[in-house]
Assembly symmetry: C2
Homo-oligomer: 219 residues x 2
Amino acid sequence: MSMQQVYGAEHVYLEGVQPPSGLGAVGPVVHIAPGCEIYAEGDDADLFYKVVSGVVRICKFLSDGRRQIESFHAEGEIFGLEAADAHRFTAEAVSDCTLIAYRRRNLASRAAADESVARELFAHAMDSLARAQDHLLVLGRRSAMEKLASFLAEWADAAPDHRRFTLAMTRQDIADYLGLTIETVSRTFTQLEKDAVISIPTPREIRLTDPAALRRLNA
Amino acid sequence: MSMQQVYGAEHVYLEGVQPPSGLGAVGPVVHIAPGCEIYAEGDDADLFYKVVSGVVRICKFLSDGRRQIESFHAEGEIFGLEAADAHRFTAEAVSDCTLIAYRRRNLASRAAADESVARELFAHAMDSLARAQDHLLVLGRRSAMEKLASFLAEWADAAPDHRRFTLAMTRQDIADYLGLTIETVSRTFTQLEKDAVISIPTPREIRLTDPAALRRLNA
DNA sequence: CGTGAGTTTGACGCTGTTCAATACTTGTGG
DNA sequence: CCACAAGTATTGAACAGCGTCAAACTCACG
């Protein structure tokens, strides 16, 4: 967690980029280096974002240094939209990221004027809720093995090749997402490889050698 | 978990009751006995509810019998509103409950016609999200003692007398909410009493003898 | 009283944490 | 091209917290 800001966020207004939805005018395009903060807990929540490329983590820090990652966001996903005026979590780039920023200001009036905007906002909120609820189930009553299996299945589903994919995040990120320690995550990866469920060419590369076995672990 | 349906849900249209919001015409008023199901996972999600009195639990059952309680809902709270056509969780009455049912049908068109409805729906979704996220933090990286302390603090805050309140739910419910076993919950209650943080006149009655100590446990 | 649901308590074991050491990976400069 | 450093990952051993199993207790209700 000793990450340093390599270069700050560049805010660039891109011309000719089509707004991907009715959420607002074309927002500024932002580039963020790995490990850098996008916003911090308590920051003014005037902006929210859509991921163009890269992976973002949404997390919270406890007073004693423990960290809980609430979610990861990949290409096409929206994050950082709040009901209140301040961000409730911290957002950081996991990998090199390109984002589009949207202004929350006037969002309510825009939603009132355009039904499709209201619908999109509501759909986004309900989708975020469903994800949080799924995550909650994983954290609540599952073993380390089941937690890691569900994590890998999730990323396998999202990958173009469902049997081979690259993890953007470190073991520490995975541990903080699943409510485990880095050692347990590492040991569980090793166990899955011994059981011939996955192979790990490099720590970030995962190949599912037995996808069915992985799904069976999701009790 | 050997609960039986004492008497079925009575659907009664009450005349003269004012709709508490623009969510729809006055819905049917429903009475549910403790332990009875309101809807099951997979049921058609045509209705959602507002609690008039009593406490409801929203939960999911795993194949091996484990249960995770996603949330409790008390007076004035809305639950059961889904984005999709089927309920993603099961809802059951913890105590004797009175509910108002709302039809989801045409909700989108009503939201389009009345901005305040759209606003209320979005606010509800964001509030549910915030609660799920808070719960997630508790489940992720906290000891049994911290989990129970945050649970008690939550109910103390909601109670009229913040220092004395009645728990509607059993130890098993608390365990399934916090991702613990009933034995650990019970032992932790006893420990808190030994530490003079709370006193437990009866298992369901909690008195906070040292509220500050309780808050200090919420790392 | 007797019964049953809910709760508490005890003894023991396993899963995951903690602490510590080692290996791997990547980038930097000689 | 190699040596070195820093970040990241793996592995081991000892420990602790929580789960499991089992029994006893409490209280409401018949």
